[in-house]
Symmetry: C2
Subunit: 409 residues, 2 copies
């Protein structure tokens, strides 16, 4: 008998038929003698509908009231899931985030979990009930409903698994697991059987949108091993766990491209101490997520600064840089160009040299120009032409032989 | 400065435009310097949609889970109403039934209020906030969400008005108040300016469906004076209050017909002690709401029993009576006929004689046959032919001169 926490996202419970399907899966697990906690999201579409209602009443609705409003999405799902389980003869009770003892800070719409008591969940499990918990939401010290923002239900599941000391935590989603690259781009992409928290975090922060970083960070912090798997089949998914020494045998775990990036070139800035600091402080103040940075020093104390940022930050970035340059009395924004960011990720890079060389060589041989480079201990990213992004991903996938079965650790 | 509790039902908050309208009304009251608590229902249609979802998953969904599910309807409205008020520059906070300290017993889907602490509502009011409370719902001692059943939001408003010792309690609805008769039937029907709890209860239990009896009973028990008025205009409505001596000057306050009634005739029952008791016990066990009863004793120890019941109970009534007659070995259900129940209500009947005579005479002169009669201290009801119900109501309205302006007390 194991205690299993399973999370099902909005697509997995998107309509009544899918709720029935999830109930059937839960029934099988329950009949096998396991204790099951099911964390669910709002049915897909419900949250968007409520947000649209609020926005049509107010251009900038109050965050506390948005939490009150949006929390109903998950509350609907938990009740319907419990009712669907009853129909299959499975004893089940639903619990809101607050009832499940998910205590948060006061930051409405982006609350952080401060404690998880799990309420009466252990008692309900020991009485044989499946417990259905509303993801994405908690309660603050003033008894007010809070929500966690995007990917919040993953966070709820991992936090509950940690609090309950669960034997398994499964994040059930609409893909079969984490892949070596996006299978829609790379036909030979392969499901990864095991991946470290850090690798998962790097992939999450790239184009690979299986999970939000916050949930993975929480899992890493409290060492909650979890599996990313499909809601629609029973294939083994990808285990996300603490880094093991043996994981370093694989040099590159996966590769990804993010095509929603821009490169901003600032020319003619004075090459004085503090200039770059002022520019990047202005960008930070404007909440622009700067990623890769290159500075070229020209002649006569004049420099060029180039950096990349997400496409959605492009307008804010250009405005912020323009203003600070005016203030400093020098330099201009030369251009804002769409680029793609190609990255390879793997904890093996720490102990294996030559990864960068292999990556650059592969791209050079294909005539793909590298415009910017950034690296971390376990990741190398390059900015390239958007039009060549898919081809480059396929090339890199092949160069690092990611299609080959990894040794199961 | 007054503390006002206002309740708006599902029709009054049925879409975003109506929510905006209610917000404007509340703003005016707030700007006039009043402290306002607004109790709202689910937007019309929301509850039905959720019930349909639940029923499509389970023919008989669990009541605890139905409460969890249905409570979201009001939770949506309170958040949207607060957001609409913010848009008008009115400070407002929303509270669920539980947060408003509406404590109930454990009877899910038909919970009874045991205590109202009002949570932090007084504090919020003194800080200048309008407080929006989810009607229809509360919380039990185990921290589980409960709901009150039909008309539950009226009950929430009256209970909160009582707990907060409010200066005014307004039940804002889609009619202008309580009328001397249904204006769709009687063109001369007039809005009643004041009515006693008991008269309101009698009218509520008849065809006049302005409010459910439970809320009026609660108001009577705790002496909460309230006004039934329109959500859509500012005309004075009907004040419902404790009976004053001067109220008896009006003999008949109002008249109503209920066309959804049946008359069941049971013939050939043995006229022995206990026979009627057994029949009516069987009806009570089958949850049939028996209203008017007549027993005719025939020759040779054989009696006829006739009684009326709501149309929706007709099938259960016929079945229950049939079974008990079989058991007793005598009597048969002669027929189940649709009838209308015509009633006149007024506390003045206690001190004025001749009301029954005037009613029977008016009907007799119009050739309308009275099939059954029942009376209470403040009401006379007669069963008549359904086809003649509307005409009879107009006739009675005229006979008692209900169109004439009452003396304002």
């Amino acid at each position: 008998m194991a205690l299993i926490v399973q999370k099902y996202g909005g697509t997995s419970v998107g309509d009544l038929e899918r709720i029935r399907n999830v109930a059937s899966r839960v029934k099988k697990n329950h009949e096998a003698g396991n204790e099951i906690v099911v964390v669910v999201s709002a049915r897909s579409g419900v949250t968007n509908r409520l947000v649209a209602d609020a926005r049509s009443l107010h251009p900038n609705p109050n965050e506390r009231e948005m939490d009150m409003l949006l929390a109903v999405g998950e509350q609907e799902t938990i009740a319907l899931m419990a009712i669907a389980l009853h129909r299959l003869g499975v004893p089940a009770v639903s619990r809101t985030g607050g009832q499940a003892g998910i205590k948060t800070d006061f930051a409405h719409t982006r609350a952080r979990i401060v404690k998880v008591t799990a309420g009466d969940i252990r008692e309900q499990l020991s009485e044989g009930n499946v417990v259905i918990v509303a993801g994405f939401q908690g309660i603050n010290q003033h008894n007010q409903i809070t929500t966690f923002g995007r990917g919040g239900s993953d966070l709820s599941a991992i936090a509950l698994a940690s609090s309950l000391n669960a034997d398994q935590c499964q994040i059930c989603t609409d893909v079969d697991g984490v892949f070596t690259a996006d299978p829609r781009i790379v036909s030979t992409a392969r499901k990864i059987s095991q991946i470290s928290y850090d690798e998962m975090l790097e992939l999450a922060s790239l184009g690979s949108k299986v999970m939000q970083s916050r949930a993975v960070e929480f899992a890493k912090k409290f060492d909650v091993e979890f599996e990313v798997c499909s809601s629609f089949n029973n294939k083994p998914g990808t285990i996300v766990k603490k880094e093991a020494a043996s994981m370093e045998e694989v040099v590159v775990r996966g590769a990804a491209v993010d095509k929603d990036q821009v490169k901003i070139v600032v020319s003619q800035v004075h090459d004085q101490p503090g200039t770059a600091a002022k520019v990047f402080q202005a960008l930070a103040d404007a909440e622009v997520n700067v990623d890769m940075i290159v500075q070229n020093i020209g002649h006569g104390g004049i420099a060029n600064l180039t950096f990349s940022a997400p496409l959605e930050d492009a307008f804010r970035a250009e405005k912020a840089v323009g203003e600070i340059l005016d203030l400093m009395g020098g330099g201009k924004v030369e251009g804002v160009d769409r680029i793609a960011k190609l990255s390879v990720v793997g904890v093996g890079m720490r102990t294996h040299s030559g990864v960068a060389a292999k990556l650059f060589t592969a791209l050079a041989e294909a005539g793909i120009n590298i415009q910017l480079i950034s690296t971390s201990e376990i990741k190398i990213s390059v900015a390239i032409d958007v039009d060549k992004a898919d081809a480059a991903l396929r090339l890199v996938h092949e160069a690092f032989e990611l299609e080959k079965e990894e040794t199961v650790l």
